[in-house]
Symmetry: C11
Subunit: 76 residues, 11 copies
């Protein structure tokens, strides 16, 4: 039964990516709008966008890593 | 009973795609608006949009991959 | 009892479509607004919209496929 | 006990329609606004709206179908 | 114990109406705004609004029907 | 134990009202704004508002009715 | 154990008030804005606001009543 | 085990305050904006704000009261 | 097992602070905007903001208090 | 089994930080916008922002503290 | 069975990052917009943005740390 519960835990962990998915979508949405308004500032906008996307993606990675750790090391 | 709990875990894992679904919808929504405002900047907007969609889709893929791993390797 | 837990897992999996439902609604909403503002750019807007809808729908499909796999292959 | 757990799974599955409900509401809301702004573009707006509503409704149908399959075929 | 779990499933099923509740609220909110902006377009706005409300309400009906089916036919 | 699980199911069912609560709040919020912008269109706005509130409230009623049915008829 | 599960059900039921809390907050927020824009229309705005607050509050009352019924009549 | 389940129920009940927290935050946010736009209408705005905050806070109180009732009277 | 379930209940109770966290963030966000628009009205804005923050924070305190009560008095 | 349930409770408690994460993000977002609109009011904006961030962060701290208390003192 | 429940708790803990993901996305989105509006204020905007991102990221770190503590020290 342990294996099954670990699977649920790992599912919850990788589910963290949901927040990153929503957040990155919101960030991208406004970046598109900003590029449309000021096409010549695309460089600066992309720079700010990438800082935000990197940090948001990092939360998805935390969940993914915890999930992998659970599946491959806890059930042993 | 293990099989059943793993199924729940896999369901939770693939559920991650929900965030990507919402996020990509938001990103697309503003991109449409931006294209309508500046049709000549469609190229730049698409470029920013695709970076965001790719990263958001990646979180859905994490969940899908974890889900497949669970279904086909954990229950053995 | 296994059958029942798999049903819950499959329910959770197909539930992923909820995110796509919300996301596609948001995308469509802004596309309508954009078409109203720039009727002559309908072609370009539809093109961006369809990329977004396709990717968002894909997350619903992931969940639907995992759900079908669970119902018809795991309970055997 | 199996019957009961399948009922929970089926409940979760049909619950997918919640996302479609929210999404279609958002899409309709902006379409109303767009029609008010450009009454002469009602045809084009309806066209975009119906594509979005159809795809969003499809996610509710996925959940409904899975739910029906569970109730009438799994408990046998 | 079966009866109890079916009750939970039926509760989850009817809970689908929550999405329709939120969605119809959003749709109505913008329709009010649109009517205030263009009182002479009330007919067209109502038409678009009613299509959206009907489709959103349909998801609440799906959940309600599944819930009724569960309560009156599964526990036998 | 059945009684307890039915209580959880009934709690979930009445919880549907949460969506109606949010949705009606959103609808009312924009109606207030619309009345402030066009006080002379109050009649038409109220009419649209009441259609939306009635449909949203109906989802809360569905949940309330299912909840009452569960409490007073299932536990017998 | 029944008593405990009923407590969970009652907790879920009263939790319905969460939606009313959010919804009434949204309605109030826009009413404040509307009053600031058109102080002379305060009467009409309050009237619309109170209809919405009353209906939203009603969903919280449904949940509260069901919760009280559960605590004081089901556990007997 | 009853004591533990009652604790979960009480936790869920007091959790209702979450909705009030979000709702009151939204109401306050727009009231700040309204005061900034029309400082001379602060009195009227505060009046509308306080009606909304009182009703939203009431949902948090419902949950708090149910929670206290559960902890101090059900476990006896 | 009681201790563990009480821990879950206490976790749920303190989780109430989540709503306050979101709500206070929204309130602060608009207050910043308002201060930027009318720096000379900072006093009045802060006053309205602090009423809202105090009431929102109160819901977090409710949850925190219930959580502390559970941990230190129920498990005895 | 107690240890495991306490772990779930502690997980729920620290999960409170989710609300603070969303709230602080919203607050920061509008502060950025406000600074862009009125760079000379940066001092006042930062002051309001920091009050809000401090209170929002406090809810995350409540959850973190409860979580630490659970892990290190309840399982003894 | 303990190991499995700890895995669920750890999954919930790391799930906290979801809020940070959404929040940081929102913060970044408005920062992009602000940079587009006032490219010369990029320095000040980045400064405010980084304070907010750091605090939001801290909530994700809390959850990650609690999750690691659970996996490597509680199951012993």
């Amino acid at each position: 039964m342990d294996m099954g519960l670990i699977a649920i835990g790992a599912g919850l962990a990788v589910f963290t990516g949901m927040g990153a998915g929503i957040g990155m979508g919101i960030a991208t949405s406004k970046a598109c709008e900003a590029v449309a308004r000021q096409p010549e500032a695309t460089g600066k906008i992309n720079q700010v966008l990438l800082i935000g996307l990197a940090l948001a993606e990092s939360t998805a990675i935390y969940g993914f890593v915890i999930s992998i750790i659970m599946i491959f090391t806890m059930g042993k």
